[in-house]
Amino acid sequence: MALRLDAPPEVVPGAEPSKQKKRRIKPGSWKLALKRDWRLYTLLALPLAYLLIFRYLPMAGNVIAFRQFQPGGSIFGEKWVGFKYITLFINDPSFWQAFQNTIVLGILTLVFCFPMPIIFALMLNELRSQKFKKFVQTVAYLPHFMSVVIIAGMILQNFSMTGTVNQIAESLFGNTMNFTQDPGWFRPMYISSEVWQTMGWGAILYLAALTRVDESLYEAARIDGANRWQQTWHVTLPAIRPTIITLLILNIGTFMAVGFEKILLIYNPLNYATSDVISTYLYRVGLESSNFSYAAAIGMFESVIGLTLILSANAISKRLAGTSLW
């Protein structure tokens, strides 16, 4: 017992003198914190270094939007050029087309892909057989675990001239359509595949919220004469409202980044008119044509809009619904 009591000062170097000095060091000062928790700070060293190098350095690297950049030179560019690249993309019609496509795809994603998981979760919740529910869930989560490359491969095969969708189209309308290349078909192709991919997994948070709904609320509603539909409307939906709002804010935050990797894999020059979004456009401008500064300017514009969107969505929901991310 005595040994144990002696132990702590022994393993904390410098703890013995600190005991006497304790009164002189202001409580809550960095000196005290370092003395007491230096081991925790060493644990923080690597992750913080990671954040600084791979997250914050690139943020600072955005200055090349205002500077001339030389490949192989400094990552912060060579000399100031002011708003040259900003005015360049503001006068670039291809940029505005990509901008418009981004907005359209973003809105379509919100309209179609956001509500589907809620409906799906509610329908699953109505199932009485837990085994069947589990089975449906397990299957529906599957696409979430597939690489986007595999998803893209499946999309292109299913929508190809001889693919399943065209087989159906032919039997219904007698003719096939060039889904993968016709600009008019890109949006339906993208959105339907997006729903396929995200509906199951997207329901998971709602299902988690649904398990926490107080059963007695349903009983009370039933005693008040509420039918099943009214119970859903007045009990279930209000119960999962915070989850819905949180996810809506997060979705709005990723609005500008619409499925970059997927679009990059499934689009082609023939459907750029509808498929080219800001991120794919800046990818081509920056990395295929090596206009780094120009593309960085577009990228910065995109991130600033994204940040503004999430901040305002958060502020609005805090105001109107009392739910917010922070």
Partner: protein, 314 residues
């Protein structure tokens, strides 16, 4: 049987309600029955739609070109053919790339786990000075990032191009996973750690000998999250790797898919090349998907619990 399942399901209205309520319930049940039938059919349809593309790819991978060309392959293989499997399985690049995927996944997951665990453990300590700054630094990156070009420039200037580091380092910490782990550590009983420190364990000792052994479930979940993300990733490799011997299998597949689209848009005889490639593509997709499909049924419950853990806090 029906009764048994009904009592088990929590939100069902049948069993628990007493007397009049139950009677009332029985009366509406015609409409209810129609709804239930519709619900069942709808959900079965969802299951079918989800599984169909996979079945279609499997069918195509075993079909011969003639039938794929004619657009006759959907659920079942037509003109059974395993030549393409033999072809791909004999290809050394395919195996090299498969090995790379395995290597990248293991290394990247290990790095991610070390960084995420130590970070989460430290910021879970409520009285750590500067804690909110560290959390803020991490959370901010969820909503604002440097963007493609500055990242590309950085990785290139660090000399990581054409090396494993360009694949395994840039996305080492997922802030989402970090927050899940943090809230798990926060919910651990404080007394445990206090007792351990009275017993003379340092903060390192507490982490390795007390906290981690009690966190096996969350650690397993995090390993799965990272491993799946790394197994599936392709973009980092696509950006930074030029040497085909370093490609992960996702890039092997991506190049195959991209080859088809360009062949298709070039027109002419390329049409035929595209069609044959549909078969090769399907085979490659099937071979890439198999490991995930095999592991998925056994591990999916961990994903669910991981998400639950993360959502409880929010």
């Amino acid at each position: 049987m029906v009764n048994k399942t009904a009592t088990k399901s929590a939100p069902s209205l049948r069993p628990r309600a007493a007397g009049g309520v139950l009677l009332k319930d029985m009366r509406v049940s015609t409409g209810m029955r129609i709804f239930r039938a519709f619900n069942l059919v709808f959900l079965l349809f969802v299951v079918f739609l989800t599984v169909y593309p996979f079945l279609n790819i499997i069918a195509q991978s075993f079909s011969s070109e003639g039938f794929i060309n004619a657009g006759q392959v959907n659920l079942f293989p037509m003109g059974f053919n395993t030549e393409t499997y033999k072809l791909i399985l004999a290809e050394s690049t395919f195996w090299t790339n498969y090995g790379n995927t395995l290597l990248y996944t293991v290394v990247a997951t290990a790095i991610s786990m070390v960084l995420t665990t130590s970070f989460a453990y430290a910021i879970a300590k409520k009285d750590l000075k500067g804690r909110s700054v560290f959390i803020g630094l991490a959370v901010f990156t969820m909503f604002f990032n440097g963007g493609l070009i500055p990242n590309y420039v950085l990785i290139s200037s660090l000399g990581m191009r054409d090396s494993i580091w360009a694949v395994v380092l840039p996305n080492a910490i997922s802030v989402f996973n970090l927050l899940i782990m943090k809230s798990f550590f926060e919910n651990m009983p404080r007394e445990l750690e206090e007792a351990a420190s009275i017993d003379g364990l340092t903060q390192y000792g507490i982490l390795f000998r007390v906290v981690l052994p009690l966190s096996k479930a969350i650690v397993a979940t995090m390993v799965l999250f990272y491993a799946v993300a790394n197994w599936n990733s392709w973009f980092q490799a696509f950006l930074y790797l030029d040497n085909p011997d370093l490609f992960p299998v996702t890039i092997y597949l991506r190049n195959m898919i991209a080859g088809v689209t360009t062949a298709g848009s070039a027109g002419g005889t390329a049409e035929n090349v595209g069609q044959i490639a549909a078969n090769i593509q399907s085979v490659t997709i099937v071979l890439t998907v198999i490991p995930i499909l095999c592991v998925y049924p056994f591990v999916q419950k961990y994903f669910f619990s991981g998400v639950m853990l993360g959502s409880v806090k929010e």
